[in-house]
Symmetry: C2
Subunit: 129 residues, 2 copies
């Protein structure tokens, strides 16, 4: 999420993979909207394969499934975010809000005070070769 | 930075680029240690070109230079983190610590309570094609 010019990314690790992060949270919201994994992937501009792999990774990293698919209908069959998935999503978004409190800190104010809006257009020196 | 299984990444935007982030903060620390841009790049396993581009991007995104090179000696000439660069680095690290307070939140505790240490080894369903 963004706080002024500060981008804050929270990723929840699970073994060597990621249980939750900005992309997976957006995907959960898209599945909730589309009621379909393929529809959510299309809405986010992701391949069906990638969408499905993200759902599978999430589902295996938590105590319960976040997304369940409905029987029948092949690729276009429906899917839904489970009540457990909604809890995970809400807790993740709330954690983002907590982390964004950095925006109220003196450290953030100092950092922003030293930052330019745009990079100076100095002609970059060539690195010596 | 890490708080248990939570990875927190702060990136400071400047125009379309990044003024500061985990990689650039590590690079500043390496330059401070090595007193050389090429030495810092080697220590971090980055090419000289990439190292130099990161330094140039940082230097152009703040009100003053974070790194200055010393005259003479070609690629191996020395470099140092300026007092201004030390201020930026300290403020960025302090902002990371502020953001890490998310680890004290109820939202974090709830999220962690639902997470597994390792993904379940469920044989992934094949995506339908």
């Amino acid at each position: 999420m963004r706080v002024g010019p500060l981008k804050i990314k929270l990723q929840l690790l699970c073994g060597d993979g990621f249980a939750m992060g900005p992309g997976k949270a957006d995907l959960l919201e898209a599945i909730d909207m589309e009621q379909s994994i393929s529809g959510a992937g299309r809405a986010l501009g992701m391949s069906y394969r990638r969408t499905w792999l993200l759902v599978d990774e999430m589902n295996r990293c938590f105590q319960d499934k976040l997304v369940e698919t409905l029987a029948g209908g092949g690729r276009e069959r429906g899917a839904r975010v489970t009540p457990f998935g909604h809890r995970v999503l809400a807790a993740y978004r709330a954690a983002e809000v907590e982390a964004a409190r950095v925006g109220d800190s003196a450290a953030y104010a100092e950092l922003i005070g030293m930052l330019l809006d745009e990079p100076r257009a100095d002609k970059p020196q060539k690195p010596e070769t």
